[in-house]
């Protein structure tokens, strides 16, 4: 039984241009799934449709047995606690400390008043420190986020997603603004999250070789449609051409 099932998903921002056309795929528990494709192919929109930061027009998204597209406000908030998200630009609150930013991941479990007052239990704080330690940035816990490097900020982002206790983590180009070494650190962390903790990861990537070396499965998106869906070794020259519209030797793949 797969954790996430997307059926006939359609989305258009303007009436005549479709960003997503009849998307169908599923993801199992603990699977590491990469989504590749040129800019404007609809990768980010696809990810945002899953946790409804973007409202899809048509289709079904079955997550743990319920259709996310039919949920109301309160149910949606509850469902979102099970779905973490990591962003290209980290999207932390720059003026707050690292630990505060990590604890933001717990708001989904809080009532309005608890959250506004910033009441966090000792267990939650301990868990936050445990996660920071696991990602190797516990020394920065009381620093303001704008003092951290990009790689460190992205690790804070991962902690914020993990403290939600999610079943699924969506990563929107997590390494697109990082240097090669930080990129490797982040990808290794994401890989270990899916393997050790059994959390499904759906990762948007620009780097084909990174996708091939880390993923269990790759989805190729071009112009709003899935043109490839298979394991990483099945993605050969022919499919890469179908995804990007040109030969591999014309691309920078690393």
């Amino acid at each position: 039984m797969s954790l996430l099932q997307v059926k006939d998903l359609n989305k258009s921002y303007q009436t005549d241009t479709k960003v997503l056309k009849n998307i169908n795929f599923s993801a199992g528990t603990g699977e590491f799934l990469s989504v590749i494709g040129p800019s404007g192919a609809g990768k980010s929109t696809l990810l945002r449709c899953i946790n409804r930061l973007v409202q899809a027009d048509k289709g079904e998204i079955l997550f743990g047995g319920q259709d996310l597209l039919k949920l109301r406000k309160k149910e949606l908030r509850a469902a979102r606690t099970n779905i973490g998200m990591i962003f290209q630009h980290y999207n932390l609150v720059p003026r707050l400390t690292v630990i505060e930013n990590v604890l933001h991941g717990r708001f989904g479990y809080k009532s309005t008043l608890q959250g506004v007052l910033g009441r966090f239990s000792e267990e939650e704080k301990e868990r936050a420190f445990y996660l920071l330690e696991k990602l190797g940035i516990e020394a920065h816990a009381y620093k303001r986020c704008d003092q951290l490097s990009g790689g460190q900020q992205q690790r804070v982002g991962i902690c914020r997603a993990l403290i939600q206790n999610p079943k699924l983590i969506l990563c929107d180009e997590p390494i697109a603004s990082l240097d090669p070494h930080s990129s490797k650190v982040i990808m290794d962390h994401l890989k270990s999250i899916s393997e050790e903790m059994g959390i499904t990861c759906i990762v948007n990537l620009h780097q084909v070789e990174v996708a091939q070396s880390y993923s269990d499965r790759i989805i190729g998106l071009n112009n709003g449609s899935i043109v490839f869906d298979g394991s990483n070794f099945q993605l050969d020259q022919l499919y890469i051409k179908r995804v990007y519209g040109m030969e591999t030797r014309e691309l920078i793949t690393v």
Binding site: N51, L53, R77, A78, A79, R80, T81, I83, G84, M85, F87, H89, N91, L92, V93, P94, R95, L96, E100, H104, G105, R106, F107, G108, Y109, K110, T112, G115, V116, G118, G157, R160, A161, Q164, L170
Partner: protein
Amino acid sequence: MDSVYLKRDKAGRINIKAGNRVNSVINWTVLSLTLLTVTAFLFFDYTGLEIGRAIMETAVNLRTMFLQPSLNHFSWGEALFQVGVTISLAVIATILGAVIAFFLALWSAVNLANKWVSKSIKIFVAFIRAVPTVLWVLIFAIAAGLGSEAAILGMLFHSIAYLVKAFSEAFEEVDKGMLEALRSTGSGWWHTIVHAVLPSTSTYLLSWTFLRFEINFSVAVAMGAAAGAGGIGFELFMASGFYFDLREVGFITYAILLVAIVLEVASTHLKKRYFSS
């Protein structure tokens, strides 16, 4: 052969400025305003004006006012008290205004609130801002009578309108990604406001409030005279309009100037000390 996008003027030289029509409208406006100014001087009524004497007497008045200031109708202590009254008027109007404006601004920032709620608040607030503070004070004076109540209500009204615009623009500058990230964790609206919007905009909110406080202080001086709200403004009105006491007018002007400088120094100092990032 020129490319399609290249533009030349009549003499055949290449234009490097876009929007020729805008430039010519500006030129014509400046030209006609200059002509109007010059012709206006030809049509003034100059009977009874002796320019030499007028300048001399103004200079004498100004000298009495600013070089020989003194207090004749009230004491130093009273003067201090009246300045305190004026400052209190400004403080009340600013603080109440800032608190109310904060909530209204949340609902009028397009990235945080419903589109229609935001639009209607913005239109309403623009209407309030279009009417000068003095007029609002006089309008409230109908209900509350001339005095400090009407003055505070009027100043409060205008402060709210001004700060709603300033605050909501600060909120709209907040990084969209940050709001998205919090929403994706399942946070509610108030969580996002308190833990993302507020920390990232607090310096702007405070500096706008300070600015409005400075404005409110000078408005409170004027209201003392215009609406009988009391304070140093009222004493200024009495000294100039009732006693024709130029020395006292000078003294009060200096007192107001001093307070304004102190406020300015204090606010820059506070900003430097607490809000430097």
